[in-house]
Amino acid sequence: MDGASPREVSLTIPVASDMEIVATAQVAALGEYIDMPHDKIDEVKLALVEACINAFEHAHTRDDRVHLTFRVGRDEDGPDFLEVEVFDQGKGFDHQIVEVPTPEKTFTGGKKRGWGLQIMRSLMDSVAITSGEWGTKILMRKYK
């Protein structure tokens, strides 16, 4: 990359099964572009998959689409990063009141789902969620 100016690529996918996998191709391409190790690329891919299937399943988007923005950049004197923004024009939610899952609840409590946000937080270096009546925006970053 020339200097610290971020490169931005935006991708819009329809709300449809397997489109989340089609979107991961962009993570691989941009991850390779900044020479991110393959295991980290895989982590970003899964975080993106989780954010997309949430938008597909929970958001009830008005436009039947999910809008993704990928940025590669570099903090001053820092390592390169890959940033993924997942934006849906859906109903929004309050992530503060989402119950945090645990293996115990998952196994004995009978509630197997509810791990998507947790997986994103575990796999990415930072995750910021903003949500309202306008929809939801998940901004995630991973350093190379």
Partner: protein, 118 residues
């Protein structure tokens, strides 16, 4: 669609070995569950899932694998995984699947370990 997961099963004595190929989402998870329950009903004691050709398992897929694990445990059976990518391994640990199922680096090691439980 080539994204969907292909599953091959081979029975070796009382062990059923599953080879997955591709993305494990809800459909892929359900197909594994269907075939796993068929193997249990047909007397399999242990299931070994070789995920060598799977690079992504989403959280819905994992939640279905956890259901399979519970069913296997109810029957005092054994469920083992092998050849996980580092990311799949990490996710299995986060969700606690790794606490109740065994994870082996290779199919050979998984088969040896489940044989020892027989």
């Amino acid at each position: 669609m080539s994204e969907s997961c292909k599953i091959n099963v081979e029975r070796r004595g009382d062990v059923a070995v599953f080879w997955t190929d591709g993305y494990i989402n809800n459909q892929g998870g359900e197909e594994i569950a269907r075939q796993a329950y068929a193997q249990l009903d047909a007397g399999a004691r242990a299931l070994v899932l070789n995920l060598e050709k799977t690079r992504i398992v989403n959280s819905i897929g994992i939640s279905i694998l956890i259901e399979v694990l519970e069913r296997v445990m109810d029957r005092k059976g054994v469920l083992a995984f092998c050849n996980l990518t580092p990311t799949i391994d990490k996710t299995f640990r986060i969700m606690g699947l790794a606490q109740y199922a065994s994870i082996y680096p290779s199919l050979d090691q998984a088969l040896q370990a489940v044989a020892a439980t027989g």
